[in-house]
């Protein structure tokens, strides 16, 4: 298990303080944050390239913040990979095994498995200058894993790759993780990457941890406006009025004159400022003549289709409510979109499912 408590780093150009993190053994953990938020600095501090002012780092119960990088058993794959250009692929791969003074014969079958999973059998004699971008990534991952580190650190492993190579490396990371269960800490600014690969995610913005949770928790229940905005979430509206529903188990939230009936959550109190987040995937456009479920009847709004566009995997529809002129972004699966027969200006009714709401402190 990896544990970081109160880590404080101060450099000439950047600083952050009191950073905490816990990663379970075998977990694929993402440190997610915007570019320039200091994520790489955290990684480099865990590797041992920066000495912290304060704080402690434990790797498998051993305190390591005072140890040099070579004593930490943390392998590091930087964004530029840094494959050693004067060593061929095989020499690159076994560098860590040799440097740690381990017996190569003890690692033969493990490295053989890694080579076969990463499909680089034919590349072992080549020098890095003769490898493609995807091949370099695979070799760098293999080099980092070869000596069985206690923690594998990846800095933006999918940034700057062509979509096809990106997909290939994503799959490879999944396979490597499921096959060998290494503990991985990966830095990224891309939520989609994290969503596909992470067991858990730490969202790090403005030098502070904003939220830690599973990918579903982060995506469906962002803890703050900052997190929601960073994730690029649409349909975020400031709540202008807040009242309890007569049955006392729901809030009636006013936004631009529209009233939303939202399930009550214990943390939320009247009088505080809140934002209402409506998940675009959970908004339904109702088809005329079709019966509507009882649970949907609380939040039905009339309006018209303002615009729509095909986004490949789904269709993005802009809906404007008749009352309050509130603009919603709605994501509709392609098959549903075809059945709806929508056009610009078409009058429709939308229904919001219970799952579509999330209330965030303002």
């Amino acid at each position: 298990m990896i544990k970081i408590e109160g880590l404080t780093i101060r450099l000439k150009t950047f600083e952050f303080s009191d950073f905490n993190l816990a990663i379970e053994k075998g977990e694929f953990h993402f440190l997610l944050g915007p570019t320039g938020s200091g994520k790489t600095l955290i990684l480099e501090s865990i590797v041992g390239l920066h000495r912290p002012r304060k704080g402690k780092i434990w790797i498998d119960g051993k305190e390591v913040q005072g140890l040099p990088p070579e004593k930490r058993e943390v392998s590091y794959v930087p964004q530029d990979l840094a494959l050693f250009p004067h060593l061929n692929v095989w020499e690159n791969i076994i560098y860590g095994v040799k440097a740690r003074g381990l017996q190569l014969k003890d690692y033969d079958s493990y490295i053989g498995d890694l080579i076969s999973i990463t499909k680089i059998e034919a590349l072992l004699e080549r020098y890095p200058a003769r490898l493609s971008g995807g091949e370099k990534k695979r070799v760098a991952l293999l080099r980092a894993l070869a000596s069985k580190p206690k923690l594998l650190i990846l800095d933006e492993p999918l940034t700057g790759l062509d979509p096809s190579i990106k997909f290939e490396i994503q799959q490879l990371l999944k396979t490597l993780h499921s096959s060998f269960q290494p503990t991985i800490l990966c830095v990224s600014h891309d939520f989609e990457e994290a969503y596909l690969l992470a067991d858990r995610i730490t969202v790090f913005i403005d030098g502070k941890v904003q939220q830690v949770g599973t990918k579903e928790e982060i995506f469906l229940k962002p803890s703050s406006n900052k997190v929601a905005q960073f994730l690029g979430l649409r349909n975020l509206y400031p709540v202008s009025s807040m009242a309890k529903d007569p049955d006392q188990r729901r809030w009636l939230l006013g936004v631009n004159g529209l009233l939303f009936s939202v399930p009550m959550v214990p943390d939320q109190r009247e009088g505080e400022k809140w934002n209402l987040f409506i998940r675009p995937e959970e908004v339904m456009i109702l088809r005329e003549g079709k019966p509507v479920k009882e649970s949907l009847k609380r939040n039905i709004f009339e309006g018209e289709i303002v615009d729509f566009m095909d986004r490949g995997r789904y269709n993005l529809v802009h809906f404007q409510s008749q009352e309050g002129n509130l603009l919603f972004e709605i994501h509709i699966p392609n098959y549903a979109f075809r059945n709806l027969d929508l056009w610009k200006g078409k009058k429709v009714r939308v229904a919001l499912r219970e799952e579509s709401f999330w209330i965030i402190p303002h």
């Binding site: 480099e44 794959v77 930087p78 530029d80 050693f84 004067h86 560098y95 740690r100 003074g101």
Partner: protein, 258 residues
Amino acid sequence: MGFRHTLIGVALFIFLFYFGLILSLFYFMGGKGFWHAWVNPYTLYSIRLSLVAATIATFLAIFIALPSAYALSRFEFIGKNVVDTILEIPMILSPIALGAAFLIFFNTPMGKLIQEKGIYFVFEIPGVILAQFATVAGLATRLMKASLDEISPRYEAVARSLGSSPWKTFYRITLPLSYKGLLASGILCWAKAVGEFGATVTLAGAMPGKTETMPIAIFTALASANIEKAVILIFILLLIGIGTLYSVRFIGKGYRYD
């Protein structure tokens, strides 16, 4: 005349300027005096002394310059800027002033102690090596730092994370990646040491058969109107210079790991 032709014309003029200068040396080549000067033991001694002293001075300079250059390239420390500036002094200070500074130093109590209890430098062969070392050590550090700056510290960071100690990382990663630049720096420094005159003549004097290096021998040959000897030595220095430039270019060519 167009822009392109004007600039090429200027470049050709510079070439002809130096080429004409070299060509003029041939006027004094050949003849009995010329061959006599060739086999003169003092001429051969000055050639040998220059090459040997420059080699020792260069090795000493590299021994000091490589760790200094690495420190300046990789680490932040108090006084780094001052150290960096001081290293450039031999490059901007007149070599005669540098030699004079050594003469003055060896007349201080500490300088006298070093000479009495250690090695005699003033008007001695070690003085030749010291003068050449002082002239090239700063340059060697500067050139080697430039070579090391080109190697991303990321390689070292990754090697360390893979379990390599700092020394092993330097030996197995930094050195092989920068050896071309370091070798070229060494060759350039050696050539500069061979051609060093001002500091050497001031500190070690111009004693034929003792401290007379090639550049000093050219000076004394001209002073005694021995043009043939001067021409021979100028040619040798010229060959060393051209050889150096070509070897540096050759080292820089190609990429070994393709």
